[in-house]
């Protein structure tokens, strides 16, 4: 099934089990969500559990937080990550800090789902990769699946977590197909996925860039470890270090811009802990450091050519 169907199946499985789960957002009810992730759930669970809300991201997020404070499990959908910023104060100041500042008097089990990154020719406001806004906010868990199987398992694990999760869905992968069980299953949120094993270099990537990296490596017969982070914060340090110590060469690929991005944190962490194992500089292939341009988006995102240039530079490094 597609990633959209896998996410839908996860929500359905979870809601069937637990009547404290409430979905809310713009057009998630009758319309089933603009990408159809919540399709059919209104009919099955009714409008008190699948809520078409007023058009106010601040309200959708704040409302969900309140529900979670009072024992419900809210799963707000923000139609596009680009529109989430009016609710950013709620995410940073209420959602992320509530457990800490009350020392656990209140906890916030909730999952905020939102499609992110490019792939639909959405221009500057339907294509953003804003993951660092969340990864740099202490108290959040930031999860992003790269395929249908992971999407369902990671979403179900996120729903079971006792803390707030920002669940970033790569919209360019929404209609990728894969094997997905109908039944309930979970995936460890603190473990990265080694997609492919190899000896020459380590490629660390996540979300929307995983299929691109995978195809590039396979097509060009690159002998690389590919690590799909799955969870950006907290990321799985052990899996990364194990691979880096084996290969000594690291390439990081993500669609978000380079400067101050997730790649910077990974590179610094690797350098702090494993610089003696490195035989080449750590390289990054990322989105360009500009807003996403509508007509020429293809030049913005990482591609096979740029990845292979970096791979060859690392492999040939003396």
């Amino acid at each position: 099934m597609t990633m959209v169907k896998a996410l839908n199946s996860a929500l359905d499985n979870a809601m069937e089990k637990d009547d404290s789960i409430i979905l809310l957002g713009e057009d998630v009810g009758i319309d089933g969500g603009v990408f159809r992730v919540t399709d059919g759930l209104l009919n099955k669970y009714g409008k008190s559990r699948v809520m078409d809300t007023p058009l106010a991201e601040l309200g959708i997020i704040g409302f969900g937080i309140g529900m979670a404070m009072e024992g419900l499990k809210a799963i707000p959908e923000i139609q596009f990550q680009d529109f989430l910023y009016t609710g950013m104060d709620q995410i940073i100041n209420q959602m992320a800090k509530l457990r800490y500042r009350t020392n656990g008097d209140y906890t916030l089990p909730m999952v905020l789902r939102t499609p992110y990154a490019g792939g639909v020719h959405g221009g500057p406001y339907h294509s953003q990769s804003g993951e660092v806004y969340f990864t740099h906010t202490q108290g959040l868990t930031v999860v992003t699946p790269s395929n249908p199987y992971d999407a369902k398992g990671l979403l179900l694990s996120s729903i079971e977590l006792n803390d707030p999760v920002i669940f970033l869905e790569p919209k360019r992968s929404y209609f990728i197909k894969g094997e997905v069980p109908e039944d309930y299953y979970k995936i460890d949120l603190r473990k990265a996925n080694v997609v492919k094993e190899g000896d020459d270099l380590t490629i660390i990537t996540y979300g929307p860039s995983v299929p691109l990296v995978n195809n590039t490596v396979n097509k060009n017969n690159v002998n690389a470890d590919i690590i799909d982070l799955r969870t950006l914060n907290p990321f799985d340090l052990d899996t990364i270090l194990k691979s880096v110590k084996k290969t000594g060469k690291v390439l990081i690929v993500h669609e978000a811009p380079k400067m101050f991005g997730v790649g910077a944190e990974l590179a610094a962490t690797i350098a702090e802990r494993a610089i003696d194992y490195l035989s080449a500089p750590i390289l990054r292939v990322t989105g360009l450091d500009i807003p996403v341009p509508f007509a020429l988006e293809d030049y913005y995102v990482p591609n096979e050519r740029r990845i292979m240039e970096a791979v060859n530079k690392l492999l040939n490094y003396q």
Binding site: G59, G66, G71, T86, G139, P234
Partner: protein
């Protein structure tokens, strides 16, 4: 409309005692902060009648989401003094372990929300809590307080809209003290505070109409009146939200970092007719519940009690420094564990 607002003499007297206690505590806490025992403090003078009135109106199954100026409400609600004082002085027994500023309470088991510093940041959460009540068919209503400045924020309007759209059991309670730090609610020509609200453009309670529910304006200096109106609102909120605007005056500075002489001359001073303590005394005297002798003995009692409490808690030890890394997540990430070494 339901009229379940009867209240006994004993309760009114308790309310008055807490009102006086709040006045003494406020003055002495402000003093403690000037002497360096408290790094920061938010004065309350002028708000006491509102606080006590709401505290009297709350029933166990009601939910109260306060803002940072609501000390007296938690006092009247009956939260154990030890919990309140430990929070105010950030002691090792503070249930928040000293992580948030004085009066930023969080008492979940008493149905009290976690006070948040960003103005109005709790209002959409409060409506979500009201939705949970509605969904679970729980008894009781939700009341959230905020200042007049808060009514300018997007949070206020979004929360009002959600409450109207879903017809939530929600009381929005505006403690209108005339100021958001130095900015008057509705500036008059000379920029000064204007007591004649009816003549000004701004009538906060009327904002409710646009969201499809009722708003009322009440006298916020008379705690019996605040009690009656709030209790009625909490009962009626079962049928939908309501906005209350309670009029008072912030008699003190905004916070310990503020000098009000820069931007206003006080129009309500301690002991004057509009001082909530004096206004409430008058009401209780007229009801035959209070006389001068009782006033004096309650004063003496609360004066001593407040001094003793502050002396005790300002000496209590602070939380252990190693606790600052606890409870960010249910299971903290590896990097938090590593940072333990940074605390020496």
């Amino acid at each position: 409309m339901i009229e379940k607002t009867d209240i006994g003499k004993e309760e009114l007297l308790t309310g008055y005692r807490n009102l006086v206690m709040e006045r003494f505590m406020d003055k002495k806490l402000l003093n403690a902060s000037k002497q360096g025992f408290l790094p920061f403090y938010i004065p309350l003078m002028g708000h006491e009648a509102i606080h006590i009135g709401i505290g009297l109106a709350l029933r166990d199954n009601d939910y109260f989401y306060p803002y940072y100026r609501d000390f007296g409400t938690v006092l009247q609600k009956g939260i154990p003094l030890d919990m309140i004082m430990s929070q105010v002085f950030s002691t090792q027994d503070d249930n928040e372990l000293g992580r948030d500023m004085p009066d930023h309470f969080s008492f979940k088991k008493y149905n009290i929300g976690a006070v948040i510093t960003p103005v109005a940041g709790h209002l959409t959460s409060a409506t979500g809590i009201a939705y949970a009540y509605q969904y679970r068919k729980k008894e009781g209503s939700i009341i959230a307080t905020f200042g007049d400045g808060a009514t300018s924020t997007p949070d206020f309007h979004v929360a009002m809209n959600f409450a109207g759209v879903y017809n939530l059991p929600m009381v929005f309670f505006c403690e209108n003290n005339g100021f958001a730090i130095s900015v008057p609610t509705y500036p008059t020509e000379n920029g000064a505070f204007d007591q004649t609200y009816e003549e000004t453009r701004g009538q906060i309670y009327k904002k409710a109409e646009a969201y499809g529910f009722n708003g009322i304006r009440i006298d916020g200096t008379n705690f019996v009146e605040v009690y009656r109106q709030t209790r009625k609102a909490l009962e009626n909120a079962k049928n939908g939200p309501i906005l209350i605007e309670a009029m008072t005056y912030r008699m003190g500075p905004h916070s310990t970092a503020d000098d009000p002489n820069k931007y206003r001359t006080n129009t309500v001073t301690e002991g004057s007719e509009k001082d909530p303590v004096i206004a409430s005394q008058k009401v209780l005297k007229d009801m035959g519940i209070l006389d001068d002798k009782a006033i004096e003995s309650i004063n003496d009692e609360m004066d001593k009690k407040s001094t003793d409490l502050i002396n005790k808690y300002e000496k209590e030890p602070k939380p252990d420094k190693h606790t600052i890394l606890d409870n960010l997540y249910e299971e903290n990430p590896w990097y938090i564990d590593e940072e333990k070494g940074d605390i020496q």
